[in-house]
Subunit: 200 residues, 2 copies
């Protein structure tokens, strides 16, 4: 099982943005849509062994967390284009309006859940049965990592993780790098997926 | 210099599609938008050493070819999201309406040109000063290729290249593979870019 956890610092936590201008109105939910595309899609195929956590921390009601569970998602739910993926996020944010219980996940679609889980909650739930890696350009080169069993990759958005998040991950998640440059989140996910496929 | 040539068999050659539903109305111009994103964008950066040829062969007026020249493109022209990239393609298709000369390129924006060049024309222009590779899952593993100088990668869209295109490329472009699975065009471009960065 591969898990990707994406912390989006500015992504809106209510469906108050325009599909016509995701980058300008949503706190970069476009980036999250492309990350879903990279995490799940093959050419005419779908990765059932992938889980994605999107952790949204923008206005007006942070945090909102959307979990995508590859093994449960129905065919044709995850389409490649940004607009259709943004519509799923909108649906999740609508279900997530006004939820109170911090630890409970609410169903949105088969395999899609929304909650008020915080970044730290996601990490704590994940670490129980997965090795954690934090993708960062200053990490250990990915080809020198000995991947075994369930693996989880933590990524930031266009602003990267905040210092307190990095501090929280220290000792929990090894820093791993796909290269010396700073790459877009969706490109890193695509690279990691193909890299791991080739190890098998 | 890195060049990516993408042959899109069904991509519309006039701006007769809807931005609200690119996958359903444009012959998959959404795929071309994500390919531009993968080819050019770094996190807070832009790859000036990249050229992209989009070769559109869908209705109603094929072929239309749009060249993106990284070294000439102005900052903030290539944004990450599909809609803003689709707007550039629309602009190019509008400039391309009714052009007659098959060999002439018309300016759309700084670094963006439109023409009636055919796939074969693009290949012939490129091969003069670049080594050609055809990205295909049955090709030679990319890590065993000895890349030198200018390199060009030919990719298909969601349907892949037609048999006659493959026949045309035989002996001209070595088949290279990033892995045994069939990956989305934009994921392959992201992978190749990061892979080549790491060789330097």
């Amino acid at each position: 099982m591969r898990t990707f956890i994406i912390k989006a610092n500015k992504a809106h936590t209510r469906a108050d943005f325009s599909l016509k201008d995701l980058p300008g109105t949503s706190g970069r939910i476009d980036l999250l849509c492309r990350s879903l595309n990279s995490a799940f899609l093959l050419s005419h195929g779908f990765r059932k062994n992938v889980r994605v956590w999107l952790n949204l921390n923008g206005p007006p009601d942070p945090p909102k967390t959307i979990r995508f569970e590859g093994s449960e998602i129905k065919p044709k739910t995850i389409n490649p284009d940004e607009i259709s993926l943004a519509k799923i996020i909108i649906k999740a944010l609508k279900v997530g309006e006004g939820i109170k219980e911090p630890a409970k996940e609410y169903p949105v679609l088969p395999g899609v859940y929304v909650s008020n889980l915080r970044f730290e909650d996601i990490i704590r739930r994940t670490i129980k049965n997965s090795t954690l890696y934090y993708l960062h350009e200053e990490g250990k080169p990915i080809e020198r990592v000995n991947f075994k069993g369930n693996v989880t990759f933590v990524l930031g958005d266009h602003e990267g993780l905040a210092r307190e998040d990095e501090a929280f991950l220290e000792g929990i998640a090894e820093k791993v790098s796909v290269g010396k440059k700073s790459y877009l989140t969706s490109h890193v996910i695509a690279y990691v997926n193909i890299f791991l496929d080739n190890l098998l």
